[in-house]
Every structure is written in C-alpha cells, then in structure tokens.
C-alpha cells in the first residue's frame, strides 16, 4: 500500500510534549492547556516554553525556546499569536519535534491564507505532521493527552472507550464531546483539526481507520480537500468499522451556469451525500444523531436483516415504535409458530401473543426475560427493541439490569427505548453504562437501529 498519509501516532501518544505559549497567567490559552495536562495525569515529559519566562511555569522548569530543551520532543503544542507561529514551528523543526498542534487562530479563517501557506510549507519541510491551525487539538483518555484550552469544570471529559470523534469545527467538537461525556459510552480519540493546513480529513480518516482502539468513527466535517484520496481511504475503512458522518455547509446546486440538467441537479452537497452513501458511511442529519448512532455501533453486533421485534410494557409506545420502524424503512418481525406457542405457555392470559408484544403494565424482570429468551432465539427476528416504561410498578433497577445482562448474550442487536423523566433517565444511564443503548424517543430508537441495519447490509454487500 502506498503511504501518502501522515502518521498521527506521535501526536496522539507522545512520550514528551512541549507546550509553547505556556503561562502562569490563568487567562492565557497556554495556561489552560498546561493545566489540563497536569490535571489529566499525563505521565510523559512536559516542557513549558515561553519566550518571556525562563524560570518555572506552574512549578515546572520553563524554557525560552524549544531549542533549549535539548531532549527529544514528540509533540509540540503551539499556542502563541499567529504572527509568531512560523518562527516557533521552525524552531520545533530544528529541535526535531515529531508532530505539532497549532491551536492559534488568525490564519485562513480570517483571510490570512499566506500565513497559513507558510505554516504548511514548514510542516512539510521538516516532515512534522501538523494539526490545525485554529483548532482545539486532540484528546486521548488512554495516553492522557488533552490539548484543549477548555477548563475541565466547564466540559465533561468522556471516559475511555471505543468511539473516536474528529471535528473540523472546534465549537461542534467541544459541544459534541461534552455530550459524549454525559453518555454511557467512552472515547478512544478526539481530534479537532481546524483549518487542516497540513494534516487533513484523509490523514485523520486513515489514522482512525487503522487505529486498534477505535471501534467507531464519528466525523463532523465541512468539506474535504482531496476528494479521490478520501474515497480511497473511505472504501478501506468502512469495510472494517462504521463511520458516522455529518457535514455542515450546504452549497447551492449549480453555482455556475449549468449546461446540462445533470449539472443543475448534482451540486456539491449532493455529491458529498452520494459519496457518503456509495462508500458506506452512515449519514447523521443532526448532532444528536452523531451520538445516537455512535452508541449503537459501539455496543451492538451487525444485524442479519431488517425484521425487528418489539417488546413493551405499554401498548401506546409499542404502537408509536411500530410506526417509527416503518418510517425508517424497517419491518416488524413475524414470530414463528413455535415461538408463539412457547410464549402462550409462558405468558399470563392478559398478554396478547402478537407484535408488538405487549407484556402489559405489571411485567417484571421474569416476564421480560422469558419473552426475550423466546424472541431472541426466533430465526425470524433480526433485532429487538425493548421498551421499558419505568413509570410502572414492576419496572425497576433489577429489571433494567436483567435485560442488559440477558441482551448482551444474544448475538443480535437489542436496544432499549424508555420515555420518561429523571427516574427513567437514571435507569437509562445505568443500562448504557452496562453496554446497551437506550433511546428516549421511538424515532431515535428506530432511526439508530436503521443506521446499524443499513450499515450491516453494506458490509454484507446487499444494496
């Protein structure tokens, strides 16, 4: 395989970090970054660098320039004013830094493309993969790297897990990261790459695609620079792991004068959407869907088909969930005769044996597990939505826990749907922490299951 893609391993897992622009002054970006490294418990070497400070910064020996460190530097994090960035990069290059993150803004995003071109050529000259400028940088809970200049008390930091999240926009990046922090799933890597002067979408997709800690890739982008290379990498990556993608910035179709009907229909945003569909991406229409899809891909096996069984302890939500299935292109499963007979023997007379299977309001953990054991084994069932309305007397923590532990043994997707308030929410979190995604609306549940099922079809080569 030709190797046109930049390596990010020294950036994500550095043994030593120089923070250029580090400061004792709490209002400086370089201060927050250094503070976060210290707070996160990073175990490598930290070298604070500030041209105005040669004593100590936050208790660590400080350097006026990276050239004075005279020890290996894996990663340089640059948070100095834009005009000073080229010189600092030159010094990092001469000091042998293996990768850089330029947090500073003031480049192409404000029309300063010349300065950005200069940055790109220095990165190239020293073969130093450089993320940014104008970005939040990276976070990696395993290696305890956190270059974000956002104070830890203002944004939840996710736990360690298998979902990696890349975002062009720092604002979308930090907001979604904050959302992930309050979800039940964990993070592998976070990369906010800003203006992509050097390291771009293609490098990042390639890196995360090859990364063993990444099970699911979640991507927010506003465009790609190398369309064909992006396709080459995408083809390979989506065959081994799911990539959930959301693209901002809808370009009007047919900006120029179109000569053909085709050109007037096939604008830039249509082209992106077509590429995403063709090469196995899962398109998220909304930030909420980035999270909804991430958690089903992170925890559930691929599905064998689109026939879905629904178990519920409330008729009405079962009906709404059924509608949501069909609205999302899925089908209600039809149980085998054997399954129906077994259920009839196990269930009380109040339970009607048909889909959606209403276990009625007094269902407890035993009734749910009995039903799940039959439905889970039914060859006509490809996936299961388990609705639990925690407002009912029989629905409690024991029920929640039994469902998750039973579902985890089935080799088909099982997701939860629980609508309600704070008691429900705490049980949802409990179930998610144990590995089963729980949705709070029928459409979120069915839409997420559809995302998983459509991706499963792509993996199996079914159009």
């Amino acid at each position: 395989m030709k190797n046109d893609y930049k390596s990010l391993s020294h950036i994500m897992m550095p043994k030593s970090v120089a923070i250029i622009g580090a400061s004792d002054k709490p209002d400086k970006v370089g201060h927050v970054i250094l503070q976060n490294y210290i707070d996160a418990g990073y175990s490598g070497k930290i070298y604070p660098v500030n041209v105005k400070n040669e004593g100590t910064i936050m208790g660590l020996k400080a350097y006026a320039s990276v050239l004075e460190i005279k020890r290996p530097i894996d990663l340089g994090v640059i948070a100095v004013p834009a005009m000073a960035v080229p010189q600092v990069m030159e010094e990092c290059g001469r000091a042998g830094a293996k990768g850089l993150i330029v947090v500073s803004g003031g480049f192409s995003e404000v029309g300063n493309t010349q300065l950005q071109d200069q940055l790109a050529s220095i990165a190239k000259k020293y073969s130093m993969p450089t993320i940014g400028p104008n970005c939040l940088g990276v976070m990696d809970p395993r290696s305890r790297i956190d270059t974000m200049f956002l104070p830890t008390y203002k944004i939840d930091r996710p736990k360690i897990g298998g979902v990696s999240f890349a975002a062009q926009s720092g604002a979308v990046g930090s907001a979604v990261l904050d959302m992930i922090g309050s979800e039940g799933f964990g993070l592998a890597r976070f990369i906010s790459y800003g203006n992509a002067a050097d390291v771009d979408e293609v490098d990042i997709l390639n890196y995360l695609g090859n990364d063993k800690d990444t099970k699911v890739i979640v991507y927010y982008m506003e465009g790609v620079k190398r369309g064909r290379e992006f396709i080459d990498v995408a083809k390979r990556v989506t065959k081994v792991k799911p990539v959930v993608i959301s693209k901002g910035g809808v370009t009007e179709a047919g900006a120029g004068a179109a000569h053909s009907h085709t050109a007037s229909l096939a604008g830039s945003s249509q082209a992106y959407e077509a590429v995403f569909r063709q090469f196995g991406f899962t398109i998220a229409r909304d930030l909420k869907d980035l999270i909804n899809y991430a958690k089903i891909f992170d925890t559930q096996p691929l599905a064998t088909g689109k026939r879905v069984a629904i178990l519920t302890n409330g008729g009405g939500i079962g009906v709404l969930a059924t509608d949501a299935l069909y609205n999302n292109g899925l089908e209600m499963a039809k149980l085998t005769k054997e399954s129906e007979d077994s259920l009839r023997k196990m269930m009380p007379d109040t339970v009607n044996i048909r889909m959606p299977l209403d276990l009625v309001g007094d269902a407890d953990d035993k009734r749910y597990i009995d039903a799940l054991s039959v439905v889970g084994d039914d060859p006509n069932v490809d996936a299961i939505i388990t609705i639990v309305l925690f407002q009912t007397p029989g629905a409690d923590s024991r029920l929640a826990s039994s469902i998750v532990s039973f579902a985890s043994k089935l080799n088909k997707p099982v997701i939860g749907l629980s609508v309600g308030g704070s008691y429900t929410h705490s049980h949802k979190m409990m179930m998610e922490n144990e590995g089963m995604p729980v949705y709070e609306s029928p459409d979120d549940a069915a839409g997420s299951l559809a995302a998983l099922i459509n991706y499963s079809r792509y993996r199996k080569g079914i159009a």
Binding site: G227, H259, S260, L265, A266, A271, V275, A463
Partner: protein, 205 residues
C-alpha cells in the same frame, strides 16, 4: 474549448456503449422533414447551445404527422430560433408513451465524474427524485441507486425493467469515465414496452 457536442457525434458515442437512441436526422427545411417522416409521426427540435430547456421555451414540437403540420412546425421553430444562432433543427421519429427518465453525468470539483439517474423529462426539476454516484459504478451501486429513489416502482416496475435500467446505468457510467467529456444528459430516455429509446442527448466536453 469546452462545448456542446454535435448531436450526431454524441449519438455515435453513446452507440459505441450500446445505448440506443431514436432514429433522427438534421433537416434544413420543412420538405426535408417530411421526407424523413416518410409517413410516420415525428418530432422537430431546435438544438442550440443557448437553449437548455427546449420544452419550456417552445423549441420542440411533438407528434407531427401530416405534411402541413410538419412544414408549419418547421417554419414556426425556425422563427423562434433566430435569437439562438447558431442552431440546427433535428427531426426524430416519435416515441409514444412510456416513462421518462434522465441518465446523466457531471464532473464534481472535488470527487470527479459522477453519474446520475432520475425521474426524467419535465419532472426532473419538479420532483428532484434522483440518485448520484461516483464513476465507475458497480452493479451494486446501480441497484442501490434505484433503491434510493421514491420513483423506483415507476422506473423499474418489473425485474426485467430493473435489470435493463441497471445495465444502461452501468454502461453510461463507463462511457462517461472513459471519454474526455465533462457533462452529459440523456434526457429524456423513454422506457416503453420492455425496451427504451433515448430521445435527447447532450454531451459537453
């Protein structure tokens, strides 16, 4: 210089990829058109780089049967076409009924050549029901393009129709990928009686 290909040249190109288009001929007079018709109903169209929307601008006359109809239509079109110089008038055999689809290609700035299929004719821009893919495409892609369309049941009402449209799509994508052209339209391509006729084509390159 990028420009609209001559109709005959475009027709030969699609023919090389096994894509059939309706019998047609340039005509220089009403009498010319009558000779081409040879007793069968025909269509007259004005071709000009300045006119994309022939039906909207009244530059197409359908179902001309009698000598009088044909010659009257010819002089009417000739009058309308004066502002569209240079132009040509083409006569084609009339294809009746059927489902109009569009198959086309566009070169995207970022991803290169892309192939499109949509519900065609006058519905193209009304319903915007189309599917798009990067060239070249596989049979899988062609199938998923059809599956994606709301009008799938109209375009491919049977297994036979489905496989015919799929193979047309794959051939068109191959033609687009292999030639130095930047855009093309087969619009409309009329599906009828288990077969098809492409009745209008534009190739830019």
């Amino acid at each position: 210089m990028v420009g609209l290909w001559d109709y005959d040249k475009a027709r030969n190109l699609v023919k090389r990829y096994g894509i059939r288009s309706v019998e047609s001929s340039y005509v220089k007079s009403g009498d010319d058109a009558v000779r081409f018709a040879d007793g069968e109903p025909i269509v007259l169209k004005v071709l000009s780089e300045k006119a994309l929307h022939k039906s909207r601008s009244g530059l197409i006359r359908l179902n001309l049967y009698t000598r009088d109809d044909i010659t009257a239509a010819y002089s009417d079109l000739e009058k309308k076409a004066q502002q569209l110089r240079p132009y040509k008038v083409i006569a084609q055999k009339m294809v009746r009924g059927g489902t109009e689809i569009i198959i086309g290609g566009n070169t995207d700035q970022q991803f290169g050549k892309m192939i499109l299929i949509g519900l065609g004719g006058i519905y193209v821009e009304t319903f915007k029901d189309f599917a798009l893919r990067v060239c070249p495409i596989t049979d899988f892609d062609a199938q998923s393009m059809l599956n994606q369309m709301r009008s799938k049941a109209v375009i491919a009402p049977s297994k036979e129709a489905e496989s015919m449209v799929k193979s047309l799509l794959v051939s068109a994508a191959k033609m687009f990928a292999e030639n130095e052209i930047t855009e093309f339209d087969l619009n409309p391509l009329i599906l009828h009686d288990g077969t098809y006729d492409s009745v209008d084509l534009r190739v830019m390159g």
